[in-house]
């Protein structure tokens, strides 16, 4: 079993937290992982991505091969499209639909959505709104994660255990908010 996931977003939107949770769950299974991150200049409001590779066998490359990714998991809709060259023909696009507009020439959201809908397998939803309705605005990224886990072959129990382990130092309320966000995400899948 091998899962190659491109995590996409804008600096500061929390894609590394998604990577940490999935990585934690994979390690619990005794899997190996490689996770290439972006640090430095691009984090200042630029586009960021992380290549997350999970496998029950040895992983060689830190980067995913173009055309091989099982999934693009994005917290921003236009950013999901930036990594289409990586997506396998039968790969998933799972993305937040809420645009993060910090540039003057951001395209029409509808034009972005219609490009996402061209992928045979896709999920497109307003994770910002869902998280807000749950009174867990900062857990938008976990809603996106929740929508993805079934398609990555992880159970809700596995991911819940990882969320608890990772957020426990931040207090009960933070753990609960993230678990609610996870469930809302799972319901979308």
């Amino acid at each position: 079993m091998k899962k190659d996931i491109i995590l996409a977003g804008v600096g500061g939107q929390g894609i590394l937290t998604i990577a940490t949770i999935l990585g934690h769950a994979a390690l619990k299974r005794g899997w190996q992982l490689k996770q290439a991150e972006v640090h430095g200049m691009s984090q200042r409001g630029g586009d960021v991505q992380s290549h997350l590779r999970l496998s029950d066998k040895e992983i060689h490359s830190d980067l995913i091969t173009m055309g091989d990714a099982d999934m693009i998991l994005s917290v921003e809709p236009m950013e999901a499209l930036r990594y289409l060259p990586y997506l396998a023909a039968d790969g998933w696009i799972i993305t937040n639909s809420k645009p993060f507009v910090n540039i003057p020439n951001y395209p029409e959201p509808e034009a972005v959505y219609s490009q996402i809908r061209k992928a045979e397998k896709h999920l497109l939803f307003d994770a910002d709104q869902i998280a807000k309705d749950l009174k867990a605005s900062r857990a938008m990224n976990i809603v996106v994660l929740g929508a993805a886990i079934k398609h990555l072959g992880f159970s809700a129990d596995e991911i819940e255990a990882s969320i608890k382990a990772i957020f426990t130092s931040k207090g009960e309320a933070v753990v609960e908010a993230n678990l609610r966000a996870l469930q809302a995400g799972i319901a979308l899948s």
């Binding site: 640090h39 409001g45 060689h60 490359s61 830190d62 091969t65």
Partner: protein, 533 residues
């Protein structure tokens, strides 16, 4: 032993801690910053009293690490590739003095310039200085090479370079730890001539360095990190791969064996004997190197008859610039190009930008207003978050070359008669390399305005401390700037008129002025609030 999930940078740091290091020295620079950041968070480093504070720049860091090695203890200096240009003087000479306590010089290169102004390959510097270089291909090797590097350094009394690249520095994977070594005890070099590079001594030292090259080649020929697979099924191609590129090669073949003979080089000077053997066996050679074509160029030299085709970055089989990836390696080997789908045209670039609420924004808007009457082209800057002031809508600066060049380039332009000549430098960059340039201006009474943007941190690399924190006015005074021409203000929208006025007054003053807009970086402020909450 336990398995840790570590970035390449962190794995190297943990390896050095476990291998009995006594001190890290460095200046932040992507992709090397996380090495010392990791050490600063490490309980082990605190308990063992390992030196871990930041240095003013890469040169002071390199010299401090050399001094620790003089005193018999193990030390590491860390920097990004362009930092080695700053540290080049002590670096080159450390090859002649050699090391006493183990000395590792860690340089993180940034091919593809994710966060840099060039993509120079530090292996050239290693070759230039004639010292051994280690180039890990994965996180476990980062960890193991700290042990191995110190051992090699102490065996031959020579500094050893560790060359990292972005994708390894910033990629995480599992690392297994080893039993820890004790730190060395304080002990002075037995030979008190060792660090004394007077010409008569230096000539002897250089001859010795040249003589030692054979030993270093022998070490790399027997290195546990180099691999020689000279038997294969297909000799039409022979492959030479280094560091990270080795992983891409393995990735391309997946579960199937590589049909061609192959050499993996992770320790230099390169094992040339083995490379000749490969050359003689195969019909052609392929070079996969992350960075510049270092080995590829070496194989144009003696011992290669130039008849067999060689493929790599020099003949266009691979792009001459930029980092490698599995796709590029596959195509170079004649496999079909894999690709998902094209990026739709509606996707636009999202370049990095100054953060919402960044103090530099207010400083730049006021500066633009103050110099409007002179037109564009008067503002010299350099390296930091403030370089993003180049981007629209600010378009506020006109140069970025190297750390500290803002002040000295503005000086040269002022000497040529450009008026006004304005330098914009960050507070940490000023501590790094701004002071000497300012002293030149004082000495010459240059007509210049130096703006030191004080956000009280090293911002671009994520908010590290720096050595001149809280003492900028004192330093400027001490260097000889007149008190009434050191002006500070709080950069904020509301203060726009005051800021513009101050800039105008100091432009009007014929001489050296320093203007210090001071407001904390919004990112470090956010972190502080989070910690307090």
């Amino acid at each position: 032993m336990e398995k840790l999930m570590l970035l390449g940078d962190e794995a190297l740091a943990q390896g050095a801690l476990d291998a009995g290091i006594s001190g890290f020295y460095g200046y932040p620079g992507t992709p090397s910053t996380e090495i010392i950041e990791f050490v600063q968070r490490s309980k082990q480093a605190i308990t063992d009293n390992v030196h871990r504070t930041w240095s003013s720049n890469e040169k002071t860091a390199m010299e401090s690490a050399l001094g620790m090695s003089y005193a018999g203890k193990r030390a590491m200096v860390t920097m990004k590739h362009v930092g080695l240009n700053v540290a080049a003087d002590p670096f080159m000479n450390s090859a002649l003095t050699g090391a006493h306590g183990g000395l590792l010089i860690t340089v993180a290169d940034d091919p593809s310039m994710h966060s840099s102004q060039n993509e120079q390959d530090s292996r050239f510097y290693g070759h230039f200085a004639m010292i051994p270089v280690l180039e890990p291909s994965n996180q476990q090797e980062c960890y193991d090479m700290a042990f191995y590097g110190f051992e090699l350094s102490e065996k031959y009394h020579i500094p050893v370079m560790i060359r990292l690249t972005t994708r390894l520095s910033h990629s995480r994977s599992g690392v297994t730890r080893r039993a820890r070594l004790e730190q060395n005890k304080l002990n002075k070099p037995e030979d008190l001539f060792q660090f004394m590079l007077l010409p008569a001594v230096a000539r002897r030292k250089y001859k010795n360095l040249i003589a030692m090259q054979e030993n270093y080649v022998e070490e790399s020929t027997n290195s546990p990190f180099n691999e020689f697979h000279l038997e294969a099924t297909d000799y039409s191609k022979g492959i030479i791969t280094t560091g990270l590129a080795y992983n891409y090669l393995r990735e391309v073949y997946g579960d199937s064996p590589i049909p061609y003979p192959m050499i993996k080089v992770c320790q230099y000077p390169p094992p040339m004997g083995k490379i000749h053997e490969l050359y003689n066996k195969c019909d052609s050679l392929y070079f996969f190197e992350e960075g510049m074509p270092v080995l590829e160029e070496l194989c144009k030299g003696p011992g290669f008859n130039g008849i067999k085709p060689m493929h790599g970055r020099l003949d266009g089989t691979l792009d001459r610039d930029g980092e490698l990836n599995p796709n590029k390696v596959a195509v170079a080997l004649g496999m079909p190009a894999k690709f998902g789908t094209e990026i739709p045209d509606i996707v636009v670039g999202r370049p990095p930008a100054l953060c919402v609420g960044c103090p530099h924004i207010d400083s730049y808007i006021a500066l633009n207003e103050a110099i409007k009457e002179y037109g564009r082209g008067h503002v010299f800057s350099d390296i930091g978050c403030y370089t993003l002031g180049f981007m629209p809508p600010y378009n506020a600066i006109n140069s970025c070359v190297d750390m500290g060049a803002s002040i000295t380039m503005a000086k040269g332009a002022a000497d040529s008669g450009l008026f006004p000549a304005i330098a914009v430098i960050g507070d940490s960059t000023f501590a790094h390399s701004g002071m000497t340039g300012l002293m030149d201006c004082i000495y010459d009474k240059t007509n210049i305005v130096v703006v030191i943007l004080d956000n009280s941190t090293t911002g671009m690399t994520g908010g590290q401390d720096y050595t001149a924190f809280g003492r900028l006015e004192e330093i400027c005074l001490g260097l000889g700037v007149e008190k009434e021409h050191i002006r500070t203000f709080f950069p904020f929208v509301k203060n726009h008129a005051e800021m513009t006025q101050i800039y105008k007054e100091e432009i009007a003053y014929e001489g050296v002025s320093v203007v210090i807009p001071r407001r904390e970086c919004v990112q470090t402020l956010k972190k502080k609030f989070k910690r307090e909450a």
